[in-house]
Symmetry: C2
Subunit: 188 residues, 2 copies
């Protein structure tokens, strides 16, 4: 069974008009992703941002809970955030997984929109079970991952939808990530 990693990309992602943008870090996302990641046995979570001050902000929040006053006040939060790493771009996250696992991860891109060649969750869940290579699940902030991320991904996941689908699918990325992890790694 391959290890599963998560990367939250703030660039390249889409803005409301479909242009490629860079979004700001949301400190809450890293907590929620880490809590979901730990619940579902994720091996590591990357916060990916091209801006050094934004990465520094993430590191400062992490340090507060890993080593600072937050560790004393809320030790469980620190333990949970141990899996979070910072990366300047997707390549850096891929390299970090490869350095740890000794194998290049397969990239699995998620989207709230229909994408050509998308696979269902059962297919990827089964593949994770038999795959030796690690899997890096990619989530986009803002209006989702830019097309270039899909083009370089090995797997594209179908969008999450309700059975009573009314055409609205705009889950927060932190919620979507928890649902995707549950579908791929949840106990029935």
């Amino acid at each position: 069974m391959g290890s599963v990693y998560v990367a939250l990309l703030h660039h390249p992602v889409l803005g409301p008009e479909g242009q490629v943008v860079t979004s700001s870090v949301t400190s809450l996302d890293m907590h929620d992703l880490a809590r979901a990641g730990r619940t579902y046995g994720v091996a590591g979570t990357f916060v990916v941002h091209p801006s050094p001050p934004q990465r520094l902000f993430v590191r400062r929040v992490l340090e507060h809970f890993l080593k600072g006053q937050g560790r004393e006040l809320n030790p469980q939060r620190g333990e949970t955030l141990e899996q979070v790493q910072v990366a300047a771009d997707l390549d850096a996250a891929v390299e970090a997984v490869e350095a740890r696992e000794g194998r290049r991860p397969l990239l699995a891109a998620t989207s709230a929109r229909e994408v050509p060649g998308a696979v269902g969750y059962g297919v990827l869940r089964e593949r994770i079970g038999r795959e030796q290579a690690p899997i890096l699940l990619l989530f986009g902030t803002s209006w989702g991952l830019a097309p270039e991320v899909f083009e370089r991904s090995d797997i594209r996941l179908a969008p999450l939808r309700g059975a009573r689908d009314e055409g609205f699918n705009h889950l927060p990325v932190r919620s979507a990530a928890a649902v995707v992890l549950d579908r791929l790694l949840g106990a029935p």
Copy 2:
């Protein structure tokens, strides 16, 4: 098929030492719950709080997005929050559902811990499909719903767990609610 409603309780919930407490409103929770609720076709979401100033705060945030400047800047957010209502306690939420549906809702309590007599998600999903009565899904903030809420509930849901369960299950309630809605109302 019965309509599904969600209630987020801030009282009676448990504190870290197992005492019954009242937690503070988190404005983000109402946004995330409403977005998940709309994605999965929930008929209404209740923010339940016994304190009038806390309920007023929720109403002010709602008004900003429903009628105020937020409606102009982000109309989709206003549309999404239309499903959110405020209630002073669980009884008030139950009465609001009954007034709208003409039937008393069945109460389904969620927990991150094992509870006696819990049913699986497939069982409740199937029951929602054949049930005429509305279902009110109950989520607790802080360390989860107090025992008295379980005692009066018709259904108790098993805790969410990862297949690679390592004994950690502390999803944020906003993430847990999205996962539960996906399990009960998601398209496969």
